[in-house]
């Protein structure tokens, strides 16, 4: 507390600060409301210089810091540190440049994901990674988590769309890596930073790749009696050599919630719905669409709807995109999981999840990216009933174990944060985790950047041991500068 006061004294008048207790409490959690920690101080910088100043002040005082964009993350990545500073980038929301001739946009980290697309659309471009929270999540947060979205089967994740970053490293220095051109020389610092969940520094400017708006988009909604059938349809589509822009699946319980929330009008009585979207050149989309429709029909879909235009397409998606928050209507509390399995294991895993749910008397609704095997089981419970929260947590963990056992992952897009740090050893050995922490030590030897996240046990960074081989690297650097 004391050291945070020192930081506040250094920053007062130069960076906007929040110190009022009630206001501090509104920042005590992100989208994962189960975990709450009140930050000692909140800073709201407006520029890179203010971020650097804030981080420098933290570094000098030895105070940890946590970065936060819109606070919609689902793994507690922006959970504050009780003695630390929460650095909120929500006021850094300028779109610095939209350059369609370079297929790039340059934005500040607080810019909302969807707003990049809005700014680029008039030039015939958009920003492809589309998390369900894209109307509010920040690009800085996307960079930290390597966010995905429904369309990442075809278009990749945030890391495939970042070509430049300006970052403030945990010692308060500002580095610019990459830019509008691809392949900067040296180690892939961009690829290392994206998805590092705020543990390597704070991004203060982001250069993103823009994608041309497709000539044609066609979306269909197929209703099935069971998730098995829907899964089989997905396999058939992949086996036919088609990579749709998106294939999403929802089960009966998730459909019920979505319907109550947004009245998307999905076919009644569906045990599962599949939303398949194809995009690209008209001739290609037409050809693929014919194949997909045939495959859906052949796989026993009892209802098939093709979106007639943009409005209907938006309605198909509305149900899917509101699914998480919509389950709030059918259950007082829930845990949203984010496991990944090889897609071919989907039917088996769903069956097991249903069994686990039945055994523990906890309901599980399922929403997932059927194309890439990223599951979002929504474990429903009522915190007011004794023991339910614990059982829900246990079911949650069992589902993750199931994912790892099938060769999958504990997190497809939400990140590890503090929520899944304890599961990391189920997926990685000590050697693996230790090696990852070498990277962390290179950026943050003092352990001030978002400590306590991602890794269950922090590695002490200490001095770098060992002799240097041949000529000292710094001497080498001196020689190189002569050229």
């Amino acid at each position: 507390m004391e050291t945070a006061t020192r930081v506040a004294d250094r920053l007062r008048g130069r960076v906007r600060l929040i110190t009022d207790r009630h206001e501090l409490r509104t920042y005590e959690c992100d989208g994962l409301a189960q975990y709450k920690v009140i930050p000692a101080l909140v800073a709201l910088p407006r520029t890179t210089a203010e971020v650097a100043l804030t981080v420098q002040a933290c570094a000098e005082a030895g105070v940890p810091f946590v970065a936060r964009g819109s606070g919609t993350g689902l793994s507690g990545g922006a959970l504050p540190h009780a003695d630390g500073v929460l650095i909120v980038t929500a006021q850094m929301r300028d779109i610095v440049a939209v350059a369609p001739d370079d297929e790039r946009a340059v934005v500040q980290p607080g810019v909302i994901n969807l707003d990049i697309t809005r700014a680029a659309t008039p030039s015939g471009y958009y920003y492809a990674p589309d998390p369900s929270s894209q109307q509010i999540c920040s690009i800085g947060g996307n960079v930290a988590e390597n966010s995905g979205g429904a369309h990442c089967l075809k278009y990749g994740f945030t890391t495939n769309h970042i070509t430049g970053l300006e970052i403030v490293t945990p010692d308060g220095a500002v580095e610019r890596i990459g830019g509008r051109a691809p392949d900067p020389p040296g180690y892939d610092l961009l690829g290392s930073f994206v998805g590092s969940e705020g543990t390597l520094g704070i991004a203060t400017e982001v250069t993103v790749r823009l994608t041309p708006l497709p000539e044609a988009v066609r979306t269909l909604l197929a209703a099935y009696a069971t998730t098995d059938e829907a899964g089989a349809a997905t396999s058939a589509i992949i086996a036919a050599g088609i990579v749709p822009a998106a294939i999403e699946m929802m089960d009966a319980l998730a459909i019920e919630a979505a319907e109550a929330a947004v009245h998307c009008g999905y076919p009644e009585g569906a045990g599962a719905v599949l939303i398949v979207e194809l995009d690209g050149p008209q001739s290609e989309v037409d050809a693929q669409f014919a194949m997909v429709t045939q495959l859906c029909e052949a796989s026993n879909a009892f209802a098939l709807r093709v979106a007639a235009g943009d409005e209907e397409r938006a309605l198909f998606w509305k149900g899917r995109k509101s699914a998480f928050a919509a389950v709030g209507r059918i259950s007082p509390d829930y845990i949203v999981q984010d496991g990944v399995i090889p897609r071919t294991a989907l039917p088996e895993v769903l069956r097991r999840i249903a069994e686990i749910a039945a055994e523990s008397g906890v309901r599980v609704a399922n929403v997932f990216h059927a194309g890439d095997g990223n599951l979002h089981p929504l474990v429903l419970f009522d915190d007011a009933i004794e023991g339910q929260a614990e059982r829900a947590e246990a079911v949650s963990g069992a589902i993750l174990d199931l994912c790892v056992a099938h060769g999958g992952s504990i997190t497809g897009e939400h990140g590890v944060g503090m929520d899944k740090a304890k599961y990391m050893p189920r997926m990685f050995t000590d050697g693996d985790l230790d090696t990852m922490q070498l990277l962390r030590c290179a950026f943050d030897p003092d352990g001030l950047a978002n400590p306590g996240k991602v890794f269950p046990t922090p590695r002490l960074c200490g001095e770098v041991p060992g002799r240097h081989r041949g000529v000292h690297p710094l001497q080498e650097a001196g020689l190189a500068e002569v050229f």
Binding site: D20, R25, G31, G71, S322, F324, A325, P332
Partner: protein, 416 residues
């Protein structure tokens, strides 16, 4: 001392509906302006929860509650169905009773509520205001309460008084009461005249009781519950024996539809209030419900339609006005960018918060001007004044009209 007492505190059950997803943030005008969690619906809900947990009603908390426009864009955006409108109303009532604001603020609020809910008192201002406008003097500069009031005041013209009864043209399809309002009656009497004509043309007997006063919208939206209940009882008494109560001001319509809730504790008026509330219709709602019959003459203009928050968000009425306007031959309808963001009027919010209101008004004016439309149409007097002021500041030209006036012109075959 804890923030809230037992008389209608914000409900813990309603608060628990919030799952903290943040979908409400991008449509909240104060979050759009300031980018700070405590000035977002999610943050305000959090502050309410803190109050329920025993935290005192601090100045900063009250400041954030007061900064809320009550536009309910968050209610539209929320996928979990959080009833934020109920929550903020109950919270405001608690604040009004349990928190002592600084003297200047108390004086300003007192002055506003001595004036705005009393059409006769507003009418007294018309003369001096017309004179002031005729001099073309601008006495006030910069965002301040007085400058805001000055900038908002619309150009006044003389309009004959409305009768208490207007017969339907042709076969009678309904007997409707018409609300004349307060600001609407005093400063936009031509809108009321147009509304009455349109209703009559569409086969309605229109009853306009002289006894009607204020519907209490401003009072209930600003935590003055007792006052609001008083106005509501009087309103219930005024309108008896009508099939519908037709309203042409969005803020009033939304408050009237909540009368059942407002007078729920009153054993005498409660049931009557509920009955009346069920009969309330916005003008565009009733016209679509009845089905338009009056012939529409062409109006070759382009119109930008602005959704007043209390019509779009609070009452969910968006399609009907568009349908009505779109069915006028020759009329081209254009959409504003960011329609869900409030223009900044929000009842008396712009008078109490002149600076941010100016920012929001400027944004809305820019969106409106960007449509290139001839006419801006909306259904709330506050929005008119706010957007017109913003357009003037931007040096633009954009005429404004109420939906009723456009329909009236088309039915009568005159240009608008």
């Amino acid at each position: 001392m804890a923030a809230f007492d037992d008389h209608h505190p914000p409900s813990a059950r309603l608060l628990s509906d919030c799952v903290h997803c943040g979908f409400c943030l991008p449509s909240c005008p104060t979050y759009v302006l300031w980018g700070q969690e405590p000035d977002s619906p999610r943050g305000r809900i959090y502050l309410m929860e803190q109050g329920l947990q025993g935290e005192p009603l601090s100045d900063s908390m009250v400041g954030h509650f007061d900064a809320c426009l009550g536009c309910m864009a968050c209610v539209t955006a929320c996928p979990s169905g959080v009833q934020y409108d109920r929550l903020i109303e109950d919270t405001r009532a608690q604040v009004e009773r349990r928190h002592r604001r600084p003297a200047r603020q108390r004086l300003l609020r007192w002055a506003i509520f001595q004036l705005f809910p009393y059409p006769k008192r507003l009418a007294v201002l018309r003369g001096p205001l017309r004179l002031y406008q005729a001099t073309r003097l601008r006495l006030f500069r910069g965002p301040s309460t007085l400058e805001t009031l000055e900038s908002l005041a619309p150009p006044l013209r003389s309009v004959p008084k409305l009768p208490t009864f207007i017969a339907a043209a042709g076969p009678r399809r309904a007997r409707v009461g018409m609300l004349t309002g307060c600001v609407q009656r005093a400063f936009f009497p031509e809108v009321n005249a147009a509304t009455a004509r349109v209703l009559a043309a569409e086969g309605c007997d229109v009853v306009i009781p002289r006894t009607q006063g204020c519907c209490g919208a401003l009072s209930i939206h600003n935590g003055r519950r007792t006052e609001a209940e008083r106005f509501a009882r009087a309103m219930v008494d005024s309108f008896d024996g009508v099939d519908y109560l037709v309203v042409n001001a969005a803020g009033c319509g939304s408050a009237l539809k909540d009368y059942g809730e407002l007078l729920a504790d009153d054993p005498g008026y409660g049931p009557r209030a509920r009955t009346l509330a069920d009969r309330v219709r916005d003008l565009s709602e009733i016209l679509i419900e009845l089905g338009p019959v009056a012939l529409r003459h062409p109006l070759p203009i382009s119109v930008a339609y602005h959704d007043a928050c209390h019509l779009g968000h609070a009452q969910g009425v968006r399609a009907q006005p568009r349908k009505l306007l779109g069915s006028i031959p020759g009329l081209v309808l254009r959409e504003l960018a960011d329609p869900e963001i409030c223009c900044g009027s929000a009842g008396i919010w712009n008078v109490l918060n002149p600076e941010p209101a100016r920012d929001l008004g400027d944004r809305k004016a820019r969106s409106a001007l960007a449509t290139g439309a001839d006419l801006l149409v909306t259904a709330n007097p506050g929005c008119f004044m706010q957007i017109a002021a913003g357009v003037r500041r931007a040096g633009g030209r954009l005429r404004t009209a109420h939906t009723a006036q456009v329909l009236d012109a088309s039915i009568r075959g005159v240009q608008i």
